[in-house]
């Protein structure tokens, strides 16, 4: 296994008084795809949102433990969340392109960093859209409103928007659950295509998807990390009874 680029150490998370994560310790190996699976309500979204501190947006939330990115605790007071989120990008369940042109969507993050050079922006737009496998569909419509594209295309535009910033880690929270199977397959393809350049964490409740694309899988249940191992191992001989039950569709 490659070295872990981001690691959670005994992370507890509370929504007000209610504990939603009961001490999660988990490392994400560099340039690999890690799938987070588990029934709904098991804390997958909650956990993934701690990795780029999106959970901070909810003032009710308290997090304890540590999350280290290249050894630095991202919850230390001197962490700049703006910088952090440029290094740890996020794609959401619902495609959420801004109601602007495709071009303006993809360049959004770059412009935030003050990049104005048209040639560089153009180049990054093309590169990112290609990486997200949506270039062919958008290259002649870059000035068109991103909302005029199909849901699957919108989601890949959102992936391109994240890629353009060139983060080190990309978090995806059920990126295909709002899409049809064909669009989902395209999103999966684009994830596989970029995995040698980015570290990817993807939440999914689609077990086939996890087995198709991920190198290792983490199984969440009721706010606990039940099992974490190589995907092939987990799907062929899970260690825990709960994991086996879940994979066999006994609950979820």
């Amino acid at each position: 296994m490659a070295k872990d680029i981001i690691t959670a150490e005994n992370v507890h998370l509370y929504y007000g008084q209610k504990e939603a994560l009961h001490g999660i310790s988990l490392g994400f190996p560099e340039k690999e795809i890690t799938a987070l699976i588990g029934p709904s309500g098991s804390g997958k979204s909650t956990f993934i949102r701690t990795l780029n501190r999106m959970s901070d947006l909810n003032p009710e939330v308290t997090v304890t433990g540590a999350i280290r990115l290249d050894g630095e605790d991202i919850y230390s007071p001197k962490t700049d969340t703006v910088e952090l989120r440029k290094r740890v990008g996020m794609v959401f369940q619902q495609p959420n392109p801004f109601p602007f042109s495709v071009y303006d969507n993809v360049t959004y993050g770059l412009r935030l960093s003050g990049i104005k050079d048209k040639a560089l922006l153009d180049q990054r737009v093309e590169e990112s859209l290609k990486q997200a496998a949506v270039w062919d569909e958008t290259k002649d419509h870059l000035k068109e409103n991103a909302l005029s594209f199909s849901g699957g295309q919108q989601q890949r535009i959102c992936i391109a928007r994240v890629l353009a910033v060139q983060p080190e880690i990309i978090l995806l929270d059920e990126p295909t659950s709002a899409l049809d199977p064909v669009s989902s397959a395209k999103v999966e393809d684009s994830l596989l295509a970029i995995k040698d350049q980015f570290t990817i964490a993807v939440v999914t409740h689609n077990m086939q998807q996890a087995s198709r694309i991920s190198d290792q899988t983490a199984f969440f249940l009721d706010g606990n990390l039940v099992e974490f191992s190589k995907t092939v191992d987990m799907f062929t001989h899970p260690e825990k009874q709960e994991t086996s039950d879940y994979l066999n569709g006994k609950f979820g």
Binding site: V82, R85, N96, P99, R111, R161
Partner: protein, 302 residues
């Protein structure tokens, strides 16, 4: 068996109530339609009488500067000063109000949080509800002297009118823009923050941009209100129907000439018809504002 059949085919109480309700609403709608149509007819026919019965020139009406419909032997109906006055106060007050409305609305929706909004919302609503005569009165006692000392002149004029209208349209524009900001989905904010935007960047690069149609609609609504406001403007504008050469000398608007003149004319005569022509211009302008908001509303969701 027959009893059951009878029971089934008879109209139920609910459906009879339904029908009665429908009838009542239909009657109300018809009444309203009648009233609106007769108002439209009255204003249009009387307003056009100036040109068709009294044979005044439409071109003169829009381009000449002297307003004296009762002059003998040749009446003068140049409405340009009022038209310019009306547009000046409207545009200036909207321009002045827009930045304040934007800032206040953003503060209420994206910065102040729930508690701040709970305090500000009633304040804004209260401001909308204050009668215009009160605004005019305050304008007369505060704004006019203020303009006189700071900007010179008599204090009466377009500038004072602008200030008073600014205060009057600000709450309208603000509360409308608040609604449109609230309609901007939360996930745009999340998407922007997740890309490493600061809160401020998110506000001005995504939220304001996404809500521009709503902002324009709000401003045009404010302009419609400013354009049609009579009493408060009349109290501070000076009511001189001469083409304004600066912002601090007495001027007039369509509404102020209407309210001051309507009591001194006899129905059916030219001086009276000429006022109806001003009313017709007001009516057409409110139609334009209405169409504009509809047009913009179609273009964007927020």
């Amino acid at each position: 068996m027959d009893a059951v059949k009878k029971e089934l085919t008879r109209k139920s109480k609910a459906s009879r109530q339904d029908q009665r309700g429908k009838l009542i609403s239909l009657a109300c709608v018809t009444l309203i339609m009648l009233v609106v149509l007769s108002i439209l007819y009255m204003i249009t026919s009387k307003g056009l009488a100036t040109f068709f019965e009294n044979k005044m020139s439409i071109v003169d009406f829009f381009t000449k500067q002297v307003w004296n419909p009762s002059a003998k032997p040749q009446a003068l109906v140049g409405a340009l000063p009022m038209i310019v006055g009306s547009f000046s106060v409207t545009v200036l007050s909207a321009l002045l109000a827009a930045p304040f409305a934007i800032a206040t609305a953003i503060f209420m929706v994206d910065i102040a949080g729930k508690r701040g909004r709970k305090i500000l919302q009633p304040v804004i609503e209260l401001l909308v509800g204050i009668p215009s005569v009160v605004y005019g009165f305050i304008g007369l006692t505060v704004v006019v002297p203020f303009t006189r000392t700071v900007f010179g002149g008599t204090g009466f004029g377009i500038l004072s009118g602008t200030f008073v209208l600014f205060v009057m349209v600000l709450p309208t524009v603000t509360s409308m823009y608040v609604d449109s900001l609230k309609a901007v989905p939360q996930f745009y904010r999340e998407a922007s923050l997740a890309l490493g935007a600061t809160r401020w960047q998110t506000i001005y690069k995504v939220i304001i941009r996404a809500s521009i149609p709503g902002l324009l609609t709000a401003i045009i609504f404010g302009m419609a209100r400013a354009f049609g406001e009579a009493l408060a403007v009349q109290m501070v504008i000076g009511n001189a129907s001469i083409l304004p050469s600066d912002l601090v000398s007495p001027a007039s608007t369509l509404t102020s000439v209407l309210t001051t003149g309507i009591g001194n004319t006899v129905l059916g005569t030219l001086p009276n018809n000429a006022l109806w022509s001003l009313a017709l211009v007001l009516l057409l302008m409110s139609l334009v504002f209405n169409l504009l908001t509809r047009f913009i509303g179609k273009k964007g969701a927020f």
